[in-house]
């Protein structure tokens, strides 16, 4: 892998750029040290694996949002997809008595159907934003409400518990000693890092987010790429829903609700710019890790639930300030 080595040191500018992606590494180290003082359990492999598994679903949504943000767009509706896509998909499978539609299609189709629903939501977002030329912020804000509303309406606001075993498998299985969710998320992040680092299609996201007119002039099919990004984003959010469902063993009416704030926080402290064209998938991953570690430390420390939000928000602000100081550039 000589490529990986050159990427690290191809020149002063790019090297600085790489550092900027990793400004959260010191924060992560501080959190690891601080955590080990808080509770001896913290640094055990079991606990750290636990942190990763808990964050894997959120991480997939961060991956989706990072792709969309880098391409210069916005998607708030991802959090609703996390709940709605798996809920509706399993309702095709489970009997009426368990809250289903009564169609009882084969259980093996549930996960593909779930991903398809996610892709369709992304495609519809793309349609409104690209074809109708509407603002991504407003479209996906409306879609956030619509998609969640659809879930509430169809489930009658109830949680779904009697789920097919195959649907729960991915969220609960253990492969080679690690939860399958960690493997899946890890592989998808690796794919994202490779795509955005080494493939033309991936690099075109930076061109589009950085200067869409320039991208067009360079022959990039801007609308098509963006549409694909929205579809991939929706699909990843649906997959996150599958993992979360498997981990918790059921789909509550609130699955995914409120995630989008954490998603944006993770992406932005990880160095992804809200203005598009800047940031990396690796950076976004460090953002997720910071959030996960903070949450874990607060839990171990026994911080009462009512105070968690405050501490949580404050720590995100501090992480932002640290990455701003370390990165040396104004945050967008």
């Amino acid at each position: 892998m000589s490529d990986a080595r050159t990427l690290k040191r191809p020149g002063a500018g790019l090297r600085l750029g790489r550092f900027r992606d990793l400004t959260l590494v010191p924060v992560i180290i501080v959190l690891l040290v601080a955590g080990s003082f808080v509770d001896p359990v913290f640094l055990t492999p079991g606990n750290l694996t636990n942190v990763l598994q808990q964050q894997s679903a959120l991480a997939l949504v961060v991956l989706a949002e990072a792709l969309i943000l880098i391409a210069g767009k916005f998607d708030l509706s991802l959090e609703s997809t996390v709940g709605m896509a798996p809920a509706v998909a399993v309702m095709f499978v489970i009997p009426v008595s368990a809250g289903g539609f009564g169609l009882e299609i084969p259980a093996a189709l549930a996960i593909p159907l779930c991903l398809l629903i996610g892709a369709a939501i992304g495609a519809f977002n793309g349609f409104l934003i690209l074809r109708f030329q509407l603002s991504a912020f407003v479209v996906t804000l409306a879609m956030l409400i619509v998609v969640h509303g659809l879930q509430l309406g169809l489930t009658g606001g109830k949680s779904l518990f009697a789920l097919p075993e195959s649907f729960l498998y991915l969220g609960g299985a253990v492969w080679l000693g690690l939860p399958a969710a960690i493997w899946i998320t890890g592989l998808l992040f690796a794919a994202g890092i490779a795509a955005l680092g080494y493939f033309r299609a991936g690099r075109s996201l930076y061109a589009i987010g950085g200067n869409a007119d320039a991208a067009k002039a360079a022959g990039i099919r801007v609308d098509r790429v963006l549409w694909v990004v929205f579809i991939v984003g929706g699909t990843l959010a649906a997959l996150a829903g599958v993992l979360e469902t498997g981990r918790l063993g059921g789909i509550s009416a609130n699955q995914g609700v409120g995630w989008i704030f954490m998603v944006f926080a993770a992406a932005v402290i990880g160095g992804v710019s809200m203005d598009g064209g800047k940031g990396t998938i690796l950076g976004a991953l460090t953002g997720v890790l910071v959030i996960g570690l903070v949450e874990n430390i607060l839990t171990l420390k026994g911080v009462p639930g009512e105070w968690k939000q405050l501490v949580y928000g404050a720590i995100i602000l501090v992480a932002l300030m640290i990455s701003r100081l370390a990165g040396g550039r104004a945050q967008d």
Binding site: L14, G197, Y198, R203, A215, K216
Partner: protein, 497 residues
């Protein structure tokens, strides 16, 4: 000899409409191999539309484009277009967050599937070296200067193999020395057989680097002529459609006893300028000249409170406003036109009336309210006074052409009848008629007794000044009274005396 024999590009009978506006009306031009062909015209003459048609970004409603006598490729075939024509657009197409290397090879980073960053960087460095651009391909494009970005764009344009380049107002954002370096480069490219189309608002540049000139006016082709057969006045006449009246700076005499309206002593800002002393009397226009790094813009921005100087004092009308504080400077009686009208000059979505009366909003009503009828009447007066071409005071400034938008910015500066006026590059990117109107308004203000500081990169603008201070490396190095020659001023700006 028919025109197509040696024509690199030919546009025939091009018509393009955008809704009700006709951007090009049966216009065309022919550019022969090896020439540098100027395309000039006032704002809205159709130059930019022709550029986007010639580069395959837009399809003409009627007419055709031929490259070397053959029909242009299909619009979707970007590679075919780029092999025929390259363009350095007016708006930078460099993506700041990416490296220079990636910008050079954007969307063609690799032949295969995986991008090999080391090979990409080597290839990019090769392209830069080939065109003599001294930039590290690994550096971040956002760290480059405007001039360097432009060089990267030119190198990128040529690297597609095109032998015909369009340069759309390349000099608009460059300072004097950078423009001369650009021209040297253009001459060298021409010697290598590269054909160029050059767009500029500065007619002297046309005479300096072009062999042929085509004039567009009101979406139509007016004339194509060898540059040497078309004297300056005739060129201006072709552009404006009326006999040229050379811009005559008005003869003015500054009353030596007029009060000092703007006084500066010992002013300094680290890294920008030092030890500047300056006194402007009422009725006087003082020019500030210098290269891009001379500190002239920094000085002007300190005068108006946009920057806070480290040392020295500024007094406006005898009072000393708080340093680095725009509102208190305005209150002391100073009006200003900022360097970048798009960033600091106006709010594009707000109406002309609202933009122009922003500093005097408190005078248009009581207790924080604004009377819209009073605002309207004030704005109508300004529109008339500055000859702003608009449908009325309610039109958003964002819809106006560059020259008219700049007039709104000047109207705002003049709205409170300031006793001191600071004007930074007022004529950047505006056409010749608007230029005259803008400079005329500054002279009007001086005639009303205001003292003005005019910062400009354009020598012609500075002719209205009673004296010109030349800055070099942050210091005022020379003072030239009215009647200076171009070479005198340029020599002082370059620091060669």
């Amino acid at each position: 000899m028919t025109s197509t024999d040696s024509a690199v590009v030919e546009a025939r009978g091009i018509t393009k409409r955008f809704g009700p506006t006709v951007a090009l009306d049966n216009a065309g031009l022919t550019i022969r191999a090896g020439e540098t062909h100027a395309l000039v015209g006032r704002n809205g003459a159709g130059k930019s539309t022709l550029v986007s048609i010639l580069t395959g970004l837009q399809r003409p409603d009627q007419g055709e484009v031929l490259f070397a006598g053959r029909p242009a490729p299909a619009l979707a075939d970007r590679d075919a277009w780029r092999a025929r024509v390259a363009c350095v657009y007016q708006r930078s197409t460099i993506i700041p967050a990416l490296t220079v290397a990636e910008n050079l090879f954007i969307n063609r980073q690799t032949e295969g599937r995986l991008i090999n960053w080391r090979a990409l960087r080597t290839r990019a460095q090769g392209v830069l070296d080939q065109y003599g651009v001294d930039i590290d391909a690994g550096s971040q494009a956002g760290d480059l200067s405007v001039e360097q970005r432009q060089l990267v764009e030119i190198a990128r344009a040529l690297s597609f193999g095109a032998r015909f380049i369009i340069l759309d107002e390349p000099t608009a954002q460059l300072d004097g020395p950078a423009i001369s370096r650009l021209f040297e480069r253009m001459r060298a490219l021409r010697e290598q057989g590269v054909t160029m189309m050059f767009i500029s608002h500065h007619l002297e540049e046309v005479y300096e680097v072009c062999q042929t000139v085509t004039v567009f006016r009101d979406a139509k082709h007016v004339i194509t002529s060898p540059v040497r057969d078309l004297p300056h006045d005739a060129l201006v006449a072709a552009m404006t459609g009326e006999a040229a009246v050379a811009f005559e700076a008005r003869a003015r005499k500054v009353d030596a006893k007029a009060p000092v309206v703007l006084a500066v002593s010992g002013l300094g800002l680290a890294g920008r300028f030092q030890d500047v002393d300056l006194q402007v009397r009422g009725g006087e226009i003082v020019g500030l000249a210098g290269s891009g790094s001379s500190g002239k813009v920094g000085l002007a921005e300190s005068l108006v409170g946009l920057r806070r100087p480290d040392t020295g004092t500024i007094s406006v009308n005898g009072t000393v406003p708080r340093p680095g504080d725009v509102p208190s400077t305005l209150k002391a009686g100073l009006g200003f036109v900022p360097q970048d009208r798009h960033h600091e000059g106006f709010v594009p979505l707000l109406s002309i009336g609202e933009n122009a009366t922003m500093p005097i909003a408190h005078k248009l009503g009581r207790f924080g309210t604004i009377s819209s009828s009073r605002r309207r009447s004030r704005a109508e007066g300004m529109i008339q006074q500055l000859d702003i071409k608009t449908t009325g005071p309610d039109q958003p400034v964002g819809d106006l052409s560059g020259g008219n938008a700049q007039k709104v910015v000047l109207a705002r500066a003049l709205s409170d009848d300031p006793s001191a006026l600071v004007v930074i590059n007022p004529t950047a990117g505006v056409d010749i008629k608007a230029k005259r109107a803008l400079l005329g308004s500054v002279e009007d203000a001086a005639a009303r007794g205001a003292g003005a500081v005019l910062v400009s990169d354009e020598l012609d603008d500075l002719r209205i000044c009673d004296r010109v201070l030349v800055m070099f490396h942050g210091r005022v190095t020379k003072e030239l009274p009215r009647g200076w020659t171009d070479s005198e001023l340029v020599a002082a700006m370059e620091g060669i005396d």
